[in-house]
Amino acid sequence: MLSISNLQASIGDKQILKGINLEIKPGEVHAIMGPNGSGKSTLASVLAGREDYEVTGGHVDFDGKDLLDMSAEVRAAEGIFLAFQYPIEIPGVSTTNFLKTALNEIRKYRGLDPLDAVQFLKLMKERMKFVNIDQSLLSRSLNEGFSGGEKKRNEIFQMAMLEPKLAILDETDSGLDIDALRIVAEGVNKLRSPERSAIVVTHYQRLLDYIVPDYVHVLYKGRIVKSGTKELAYELEEKGYDWIKAEVESV
């Protein structure tokens, strides 16, 4: 589904991604961990099509298409979804209104008729249950004045509405209380299917108890320096990153 080879990206003259290689097959969940500042969010943004980052090398193939050639909105329509580490507040635009526009733009791209108000509301009601989100929150301005946890929940709600092929969750667990973490993780699991894949960026093994990954990777200084299965996450939880850093420096 997603094949990243030797991806390099920089901002200004600072290189952040220094050759990422990653292969994700349909249905797989890959966790990405790694110390602060190692480039996890940068990778997520580059995949989602943020233009501030300049891709200086490498290639990304998404379902047989050149992902790096597409604008952010086309990537979304092709099935990429990024749950932001820091969701943006947008005054004056309600989540409902915005999601309806987004969903119908994506449908247009796929040659489908737009959902009318009734169909949209029905879908919304159904997906609200996935993450246990309140209607009143959705009629407010998008993320404006939302608590940290509410913002994260809203990201997963949007994901449930847009049903992406590849979801990239950037620290969706941070800022969530224990109950919310479980609810959000269950929401993600409900969307799991043999066709859908996910990249889950997290600092904590705890999330991976709920969203069980097929693979765990460690990103450090712009490279994936170690990959393993979910046991790697336990090992990191226990030992921290020093041993990995030492391994990298000794090479």
Binding site: E51, I90, A102
Partner: protein
């Protein structure tokens, strides 16, 4: 102030026109009303048109406007049919048309009962309501230091006179449509409006300005609004004018105890626009709201000067002005808040936010707070920035194309102001124009 030597030809033309008019007047020239006009003309003669050396006109150069040749008192054959495309859909109420400055009863409709709404052309009211006019005319809009107000006062003739008796609530809005027919010539008009709202009375008034044709239209309007104790006034000024429209508009408001005045000034289009909104809180427990939206693009210029004068204690004022500037559009916001020594327990808030979309567009903001009382709550803030790229990316990442995302964000930005317009057909009409203007 020394007379300004520039722009003398237009100035001379105006002064000559005044003298000529005076000669035709016979006995009337001795009336008190005319004495005010004469003294206004003297002020205009002394002041001359402001140049950019004048602090209040630093960013608004009237040179091009003054340089055009205009005909005053230009007749026009506009018919009911010509007005049809100018109608605002679904808008019902008292709708008055003024064409090239003159009230056109044949195009207008008045639906509210005369017991509640007394409305007539300013010219007619000079005969029928001399006493009220004597009491209020030029009592608020001081012309000593404003050339344009002086000029308007000197020529005060056209425009509207509205009086709402005490305790009367006018349900239907009063819509004043000022149409300048510049299809064949450049035309200048100087409407003079007086709105006197009695104790505990209520009215909604909307002014709209529109220039037809390719000729230049110069409008110099002064509106005095007198809000008696416990009265409530909603006042909208709507400008969706031509590229060749020059608009100088002054609104001077005087509020008495417990009164409520609510203003929204929306400038969607217009070549050169200068609005002065001055509110004097002459009573206690007054409330004033000021909303503004301006969207200059192309080579349009919009200058909003506002002043809230807290002369008495325990009043509340709140102001929100927003601008979207594109192409070579330029904007000015100058917001003054005075809190006089007696005006304890004043609450005064001001905010001005702008989005500048092009490197050639510019915005000048100047909040001015002068606070002489100690027990007050005041705040002000101005922001001028580019399009929020993070927000754009967020919407794009959900599948909304960049152009649509941009329109959505800017529309939401404008809507924070427009949503405050309580006459729904007007709000919808403006929202339509805003959508069109923002769509790429």
């Amino acid at each position: 102030m020394t007379p300004n030597q520039e722009y003398t030809s237009f100035k001379d033309q105006l002064i000559a026109a005044f003298r000529e008019g005076e000669e035709r007047m016979n006995g009337e020239s001795k009336s008190a009303f005319h004495q005010v006009r004469r003294s206004a003309l003297q002020s205009f003669e002394t002041l001359g048109f402001p140049t950019i050396r004048h602090e209040e006109w630093k960013y608004s150069n009237v040179k091009t406007m003054i340089g055009e040749q205009y005909s005053f008192d230009e007749g026009t054959a506009l018919t009911v049919e010509d007005m049809a495309p100018l109608q605002i859909p679904n808008l019902e109420g008292n709708i008055l048309f003024f064409v090239n400055g003159h009230y056109r009863a044949d195009l207008s409709q008045i639906v509210s009962p005369a017991t509640h709404l007394q409305i007539k052309s300013f010219a007619e009211a000079q005969q029928t309501d001399a006493e009220t006019i004597g009491l209020h005319f030029s009592r608020y809009a001081d012309f000593q230091d404003s050339a344009f107000t002086a000029l308007n006062t000197a020529f005060a003739q056209d425009g509207v006179f509205i009086r709402i008796p005490d305790n009367k609530v006018v349900e239907e809005p009063v819509i004043l449509r000022f149409i300048t027919d510049a299809r064949h010539k450049n035309v200048a008009v100087q409407p003079r409006n007086l709105i006197v709202v009695g104790r505990n009375a209520e009215v909604k008034v909307a002014e709209s300005y529109r220039t037809l044709g390719d000729g230049a239209g110069f409008t110099n309007v002064v509106t005095e609004v007198v809000v008696a104790a416990d009265a409530r006034v909603e006042h909208y000024r709507i400008q969706n004018d031509s590229e060749r429209a020059y608009h100088i508009g002054r609104t001077q408001v005087s509020q008495a105890d417990n009164s409520h005045y609510y203003n929204a000034t929306i400038t969607l289009n217009g070549g050169f626009v200068r609005n002065d909104l001055n509110i004097v809180l002459n009573g206690q427990h007054c409330e004033s709201f000021m909303y503004g939206l301006y969207m200059p693009n192309g080579r349009q210029h919009v200058d909003n000067h506002t002043l809230v004068d807290h002369a008495m204690p325990n009043c509340y004022s709140n102001e929100l002005y927003k601008g979207i500037l594109d192409d070579k559009g330029t904007g000015v916001f100058n917001g003054k808040i005075y809190v006089r020594p007696d005006a304890q327990k004043t609450n005064a808030y001001q905010s001005c936010k702008n989005v500048v979309l092009s490197p050639d567009a510019s915005m000048n903001t100047k909040p001015q707070l002068e606070i002489y009382a100690d027990d007050v709550k005041c705040s002000h803030g101005t922001t001028t920035g580019k399009m929020n790229e993070d927000a754009l990316f967020y919407l794009q990442s959900r599948g909304i194309p960049k152009d649509a995302a941009r329109t959505l964000l800017l529309y939401a930005f404008a809507e924070e102001v427009v949503s405050n317009i309580k006459i729904q057909p007007i709000r919808e009409y403006l929202e339509g124009i805003i959508r069109e203007k923002l769509a790429l």
